[in-house]
Symmetry: C2
Subunit: 345 residues, 2 copies
C-alpha cells in the first residue's frame, strides 16, 4: 500500500481509493486533502509499532516522544524526529497521538508547544487520538480543535477535524497491524481516515460522534473486567466446593455463564493453551492498565452523575492487585492472586 | 421411547440401551436394576412438566406434592398420587425430587414420613434431586442415603445411590424436554440414570462426585449474574456517555466483553428479539430465583470460608430488585430498573 510522496490526484490507486470518499463524505468543493505526511506522537509499546506500520505502508512519518531513547530508534532508521508536538503539527497533514493518560493527551494538544499551540492554523487537517482516555477529554479536545481555522492557503478543509480512535488487541496486534479501532467523531473524518487506520489495524468500528470511541473502549473494558472477575470468582468457589475449573469451564462454555473470559482467555492455568494464565500471567493486558481503564470508567460515570457498583468493585480489586505487586501481570491473574490467595510472582 | 412394564432383559430396545452399561458401569454380578416405577416429588412449574415427560416416555410414574391442586391435575389423568414422600418411596424404583429450597429437600428426604423414613430399606435404589440447592445439602443427603441398606430381596443393588442433578433451561425447556442436567454423584449411578434424564432433557453434563452438580449450577448462575450486571452497567454507562446500547452490543460481541448476556440474552429492550428484555422482562428466569441462587452461592462460600466480593455485590443488587417489586421479572430487568432507574412494572 505504497503512497510515495505524490499528491492524491496523480496516483492511480490512491485516486481510486478516494473515489468513494468524494461520493460519501465530501462535496466537490471540499475534496479530501492529502495525508502523506503523518506526525506520530507517543512511541511506547503500542505507538512505536503503529508508527512503524504506517512507515511500512508508505506514509511519510515524523515522530515525537518525550523519551529520547524511543525517538533514537526511529532517527537511527532515518525517520525525522521532532522536538515538540507543535513542531510535529507544522509538518504534518495528519497527526496521530498514542499516549498513556488523559493528562498527557491534554498536554500534548493544548500545553505549551502543543499541537494547537499556533491556533492550529498551520497544522494538520486531521487529528486522531488513539490513547485510551475518558470521553469527556476526547470531547474537550475535539471542541478545542473545532474552534481552530486552517490558514486559507491549505484550502481543502476550512477547519481541522478530530477522531478519538482507541484500540483493542494490545501490543501483539499493534505489531502485527491487526488492531481494532473504535472510532468517534464526524463520519466524514472517519471515512477519510480509513486507509490510514487500516495501515495499523484490520477492523474499524464507527461508534458515532466525538468521544464515542473513548466511551466504547472504557465500557467494553469495564464489562470485560467484571466478567473476568465473575468467572474467576466462580472457578475459585467451584474449586473450594470440590469441582474442577476445567469441568466448570466446559459447563460455562455451553451455557449461560459463557463469556470471552471463559472460552477465549480463561484465567485458570492449564485450561487453555497460549493465554497469559498458562505462562504465569506474563504478556497480555496488565492489571495496571485494567486499573487505569476502570478508573477512567468510574471518573466518566461520576462526571455524568452515574453509579457503577460492579465496576467500582472491580476497580477496588484491580487497585489491590497492583498494590500487591501484580501490576505488570495480565489482568486474568486475579484468579490466582486475588481469589485463590496464591502469589504468582 | 416407550418402556412399558416389562423388565429390562425382555425389551429389545431397552436391553440394547443397557448393553453399554454392562460394559461401562456394572459388573455382571451387579446388573442394572429396572427403573420402570418412578416417583416424582415436587409438581411446581418445573417438576410438573418433567413428570409429564417421564409419563410420555413410558415410565410408570407416581407423584406427590404438598399442593393438592397440583396433584389433582395428575390424578385427573389417572396418574397415581401418594400422600407422603415415604409412600412414594415404597412403590418406586427411582425417586426424583424437584423442590424449591434446601429446607424442602431436607424435609422430603429426612423429615417425618420422608423418603428415608423407613431407613430406605424398602425404598428406591436411586434418588435424583434436581432441585437447586447448595452442594453441602446435596452431600448431606447423599451421605444419609449411603448409610441405608436395601432389603436383601431387592437384590440388584446393595445400597441406594443418589445423584444431585440440577437443571438449566427454565420452564420452556422443562416443558419441551430439553433441559440440561448438571450431575454429581457416583459415575455408575449417572450412567444408569441417563435414559431417565434424557426423557426430561437433551444434555447431560457429568460434574464428578456428590454435590458437584449443585456446585456447578450455583457457580454457573453466580458467573451469569455477574456478567449480566456487568454488561447492564456498561450499557447504561454507555448511554449516559452518549453511545447507544445497540452500538455497544455490536462492539462487545466481536471483542473481549462478549458474553451470553450480550449476544444471546441482551438486557436492553429492542436490541434482540425474543428475549425477556423485549417483552417487558416477562418470562425467563426471575430475579427472585437469581437472588435465591446467589444466596445459595454465598452460603456455600461462607461454609468453606471463602469470600466472593463480586457475587456478594450481585446478591445485594438482586435482593434490592426483589424488594422493589421486580421479583417476578426476568433477572435481566436489572438493566432497566436498577441501572437506568426506570420502573418496568
Amino acid at each position: 500500500m505504497g503512497l510515495g510522496g505524490a499528491g492524491w490526484r496523480s496516483v492511480g490507486s490512491k485516486a481510486h481509493r478516494w473515489g468513494c470518499l468524494r461520493l460519501r463524505g465530501f462535496s466537490s468543493a471540499a475534496l479530501p486533502p492529502h495525508m502523506e505526511s503523518v506526525g506520530f506522537i507517543g512511541l511506547g509499546n503500542m505507538g512505536s509499532h503503529m508508527a512503524r506500520n504506517l512507515i511500512n505502508a508508505g506514509y511519510r512519518v515524523s515522530v515525537h516522544d518525550v523519551n529520547e531513547n524511543a525517538m533514537k530508534k526511529f532517527s537511527d532508521d532515518g525517520i525525522p524526529t521532532k522536538r515538540s508536538p507543535l513542531e510535529v503539527s507544522e509538518s504534518s497533514d495528519v497527526v496521530i497521538t498514542m499516549l498513556p493518560s488523559s493528562a498527557h493527551v491534554l498536554d500534548v494538544y493544548s500545553g505549551a508547544n502543543g499541537l494547537l499551540g499556533n491556533g492550529g492554523r498551520l497544522g494538520p487537517w486531521l487529528y486522531i487520538d488513539s490513547s485510551t482516555v475518558d470521553p469527556q477529554t476526547s470531547r474537550k479536545i475535539s471542541m478545542d480543535i473545532s474552534r481552530c481555522r486552517l490558514k486559507e492557503k491549505k484550502g481543502y478543509a476550512e477547519k481541522p477535524m478530530m477522531l478519538d480512535a482507541p484500540v483493542s488487541g494490545g501490543v501483539p496486534a499493534a505489531e502485527a497491524g491487526t488492531l481494532t479501532f473504535m472510532v468517534g467523531g464526524l463520519e466524514e473524518a472517519y471515512v477519510a481516515a480509513k486507509p490510514l487506520l487500516l495501515a495499523m489495524g484490520k477492523k474499524l468500528i464507527y461508534c458515532g460522534g466525538a468521544g464515542n470511541g473513548s466511551a466504547a473502549k472504557i465500557c467494553n473494558n469495564m464489562a470485560m473486567a467484571i466478567s473476568m472477575l465473575g468467572v474467576s470468582e466462580a472457578f475459585a468457589l467451584g474449586q473450594n466446593l470440590g469441582i474442577k475449573a476445567s469441568t466448570l469451564t466446559d459447563i460455562f462454555n455451553c451455557s449461560s455463564a459463557r463469556c470471552w473470559s471463559s472460552d477465549t482467555y480463561n484465567p485458570v492455568p492449564g485450561v487453555l493453551e497460549g493465554v497469559p494464565s498458562s505462562r504465569n500471567y506474563d504478556g497480555g493486558f496488565t492489571s495496571k492498565l485494567m486499573a487505569k481503564d476502570l478508573d477512567l470508567a468510574m471518573a466518566s460515570a461520576s462526571g455524568v452523575g452515574y453509579k457503577c457498583p460492579m465496576g467500582s468493585g472491580a476497580l477496588n480489586i484491580y487497585q489491590k492487585l497492583c498494590e500487591e505487586g501484580c501490576d505488570a501481570k495480565d489482568f486474568s491473574c486475579a484468579f490466582r492472586h486475588y481469589y485463590t490467595g496464591k502469589d504468582e510472582k
